[in-house]
Symmetry: C3
Subunit: 353 residues, 3 copies
């Protein structure tokens, strides 16, 4: 992939300052820019690199005024960071969507429809009665059970496993070895103290623009025709556990290794840190923020609540307690001091009586 | 699958109240029941749905007396919930066990015996000298190493990996991408401060009726002829880590993302919450209960102990401490108050002398 | 595999005390030794087994003097444990490296070079423009993307997934279902409160002698030509999350289920316990030690620092606080007692005035 600086500027709707016909073929950080590379300057902490970089072009934001001589051509845009992200995206899509066609052998079940432009990697397996949309990329060794529906442009990286009856929206990304639709952890205690598995017969629904991290697991709902649901635009990082009958709201983001217990309903636009645990049957309001390693054991009704700690409390309360936990040796010493003073003090007090 | 209400009642040993010849083909929650569906009423909180549901049949417990008019046929059983679970199970088994035969290509090593009724999904790989029991379901892309034994009726979902020499009992379920028999984490420190891997040559044994969640990992024992053992009926959820030489007792259940360090011996009938960590070489008595996110660093000798916190203590002690942690700002204020009073008080006291 | 005791002694550079021509074919713990087995005695707690074991040979350390009659032949070496580990290693390598050749079908892309002695398990898939070194073992259902380089003698167990452009050194071991190079968790907030994925275009570099546990995930760097790096000799256990742009130092070991957030730089020779979380953009000095379940939110400059707790503090400080947390009910009682005394005491004090 090689473009002129003028072509890149046109794509970004930017204005060129300097020679526009030079070829660029790579993206690079400004401190690592070499000839043929295009870079960007957003954080002015890095401004000094502009005067030494060998990058051929640098994207800058409107209003930026260089203070010294520099060699790259500048592309002036509204927001340099956003514009550069746009380039990354063009580059990424060019890579992702170059895959197409079928690498035999693959396994395709009966009555399964596969859309135009689909990529099927070697040793992928698709069950019966599936509907696979246009331009879906199914990498090598992906498994798709029976009666599965996948929307257009969705990417399933190598080793993703989708159980029977699940529904995956359009423009989703599922990273390697993610598991969608495994049996929930439901067991009925028996009179002898052992447990019997409760069959799990529901499915998982991922709406559009959902992102699922590598090795993340999402259990199916218990009852037939019920669903564990990940709503539109939600982003789940790696190694996350979503239990049966959970609902994750729209545009909620969850960092790695967090776990949500059965039947929770997490609101829209929530931000959940890494290694967070959420107990079963809770409801969290929209815009709830949970810091890393917190343990949530109560529902949250007020939107925008910030929680931390295990067990969690409102972040400000938790921070106050945590500071005092660190100062407990000092507090204990103060109490000891008081006891000592009081012991001494009580002697003359008693002698008065 | 379509049955008459009479057939369902017969299967459940229940008594029919109402028309018995109607056909039912689906299971549904009572609030979502439509014609052709069979539902159940166990928790009387949902009783009002009985009077509005369009389900064709509703399973109720003996002694239940409707208070209003209703349309479904009733099937009266000893315990409505248990009976419905039985239906779920029948339905689930009908789905799971419908798979059979071999979807070529599969890889089969030398001297490997495969029982009757086995399902081998496409791209499954089985090594040399294995013994696979009757009716075992090996889904697509499962890997089974050499010298592996698998008992009758066990299900290995897509992407499960079983290392050489492991033994898996009958009637087990292993969910997608679970790993059985990976090398334990053993390293011998070298004089230069680096580490050398200690080879791990033992195996993993899963007894009968064991359930292993998606993406859970169970390491093999260190020494040849030693085993990491998961005893009969134990249920492990998703993303759990079981280290080398661990033994998990009979009918113990562990929730998602918990980890057990090397050489631990966990008793029978224990209940371990999500995201729990257990340090190495500990013994936990039978019926130990551990709440979510706890960190266990001491052995437990008394059966039925309930633990919580990190580091964990007996649950009641931990709860008392946790309540006081939340009230630390208040306690600190009380101490400050005492210091103030004592300072004031000590002045006249001194003036007396 | 069968050897004489003399042959084993020669391999270990040890001296034989007793008959040297007997055959040994198995390794066993001294308490489980039977005829034909070779065992070792390192911890003298186990010395009594020497006098009862039926093992054919026992490895002992120089200077050890038996106190009673015993039957096995002794092999005297500098360090019995190290010598036995050496035998385990020989045994392990004999097993691991016996695999060779290609189990068809496999998928090989264009312009991909495969070294001598490589094992390719059934249904493995290797992309275009890859360079696979000598004696590399690629088990069944491994996926290797495009432009991947793998050094000599590296083992990738079944189900490992390596994304495009990653570089894996020589003598590495990657356990089943590990994921190398998945997209980092980077999202740009949009004006409507939703998030847009920031394309991740860098790669992952594993240097030589790196060990990666089962189901562990390592995200690629964000920028093209940037890398997430695991340095030489580092050992990562199962179910670990390494985020984008992280660097893990040489010979650092991390226990299971720990997570490192984006752009962290962990020093050399660090020891990180299980279920530890490390916040983004931190630097940890060499030889940092972190106990299990800790949460690290600050950089550590002093080498050899020991950290514990969540949020973490220096281990000694944290232990002091933790002890006092457990004693909070007692401390609260002491404060209550003081309040009571002071209340009583203040009455006569007031009456004096």
């Amino acid at each position: 992939m090689e473009f002129t600086i003028a072509q890149v500027a046109q794509l970004l709707g930017g204005e060129v300052k300097g020679p526009a016909d030079q070829k660029v073929s790579r993206l690079a950080k400004i401190e690592e820019g070499t000839q043929g590379a295009i870079s960007f300057l957003s954080n002015l902490k890095y401004e000094h690199y502009l005067y030494t970089t060998a990058a051929s072009a640098v994207i800058v934001s409107k209003g930026f005024e260089p203070k010294k001589a520099y060699t790259p051509t500048l592309i002036v845009v509204d927001n340099a960071y956003t514009a550069f992200t746009r380039l990354l995206e063009v580059y990424h899509n060019a890579l992702s969507f170059r895959k197409s066609g079928i690498e035999e052998p693959v396994h395709r079940g009966q009555d399964t429809e596969i859309g135009e432009g689909v990529y099927l990697g070697a040793f992928a397996s698709i069950g019966d009665h599936c509907r696979i949309g246009k331009n879906v990329k199914i990498y090598s060794q992906v498994y798709i059970g029976d009666n599965v529906v996948i929307g257009d442009n969705t990417i399933l990286y190598s080793g993703v496993k989708v159980y029977d009856n699940c529904r995956i929206g359009a423009n989703c990304t599922l990273h390697a070895n993610a598991v969608i639709g495994s049996d929930g952890f439901g067991f009925a205690p028996q009179t002898d103290g052992s447990y019997k598995s409760i069959p799990q017969l529901g499915n998982v629904v991922l709406e559009d623009y959902v992102s699922i991290g590598a090795n993340t697991t999402i259990d199916c709902a218990t009852m037939p025709e019920d669903s564990t649901i990940i709503r539109e635009g939600a982003k789940l990082d790696n190694l996350i556990q979503i239990a049966h009958n959970v609902e994750i709201g729209r545009h909620t983001v969850m960092a790695a290794q967090s776990g949500v217990s059965g039947s929770c309903k997490i609101g829209d636009y929530c931000m959940i840190g890494g290694q967070v645990g959420i107990s079963g049957h809770l409801h969290l309001a929209d815009h709830t923020i949970i810091t890393a390693q917190s343990g949530i054991s109560k529902s949250i009704e007020k939107p925008g609540t910030i929680l931390s700690g295990s067990p969690a409390a409102e972040n400000r309360e938790n921070l106050k307690s945590q500071v005092l936990v660190r100062r407990l040796p000092e507090l204990e010493k103060r109490v000891r001091e008081l006891e000592k003073i009081l012991k001494e003090l009580s002697l003359p007090a008693n002698s008065i009586q």
